[in-house]
Amino acid sequence: MSLYAAVFYLLGIVILTATGLAVTRRQPVHAVLYLIVAFLGTGALFFLLGAPLLAAFLVIVYAGAIMVLVLFVIMMLQRSPRELGLLSEWGPATLLGIVFLAVAVAMVFKDPGSGILLKGAVARPRDFGRFLFDRYWLAIEILSVLLLVALVAIIQLGKRRDCEESEKFPSPHPSPPGGEGEGEG
């Protein structure tokens, strides 16, 4: 077993452990913190698989930006006590996951190409960027439009118009104190 293979299996164990811990936590803050570990491991795995630019992007965007955004949102929300003491959905969900996993494993190992050893190669960031803007420049532009549309939708959703809506639709559950006014400054 070469050094690269050992590093790969080590990273795999780290990713699986961190993800497994993250999806079973009841406190979302703990889940997000474990997930940051999983994303950092995934970034290292991308580096190992020859995608250094994507590794940097993953660490910056996933582990940096998105997880911090989720943390801020968790801090804005108050927990309802019902989420803590319920286990009833875990059975069917785990069964579903196991069935899916069994099918996926069977399909992967039935394929004769699955035993092919990967050869090491690195897509240098310069080559990758040139390739991307040579052939997929239109997709990049569409992606930027998508991000712009998401931004507009978020601003529109985040506008506060609860004063007139609370009269039209009286909420059946009274909103907790401090939940309405503190989030947006």
């Binding site: 790969f8 999806v23 989720v70 804005m76 929300l77 309802s80 090491g120 897509a123 997709a139 909420s171």
Partner: protein
């Protein structure tokens, strides 16, 4: 690098299944979004492995698109969660019963 392709796909598959379980089992909308993120991460691992297997850079280009789409999706989803929370005072989807007469 002497890792078989199937092992990388196996890692991606297990991660994807964990994200699926997280998506279905939790009753907190933030945890549901986290499950979607885990599933997208697993898809990205599979794409990078396939890119290395066939020595083509298209797989890595797709991972870049996955990153951007996932950023848009999580930000919009979190904004929807906040909007629902303002309206009902809860992030539990079982309590969204405004339409019930």
């Amino acid at each position: 690098m002497i890792v078989p392709l199937g092992h990388v796909f196996l890692l991606a598959g297990i991660t994807f299944a964990m994200g699926l379980v997280c998506l279905v089992a939790h009753r907190n909308l933030v945890m549901t979004l986290i499950g979607v993120e885990v599933m997208m991460n697993a898809a990205a691992i599979a794409f990078v492995a396939a890119s290395l297997r066939w020595q083509l850079m298209e797989g890595q280009a797709f991972v870049l698109f996955i990153l951007a789409v996932s950023a848009a999706e999580i930000s919009l989803g979190l904004m929807l969660v906040i909007s629902l929370y303002r309206r009902t005072g809860s992030v539990d989807p079982d309590r969204y019963d405004i339409l019930k007469w």
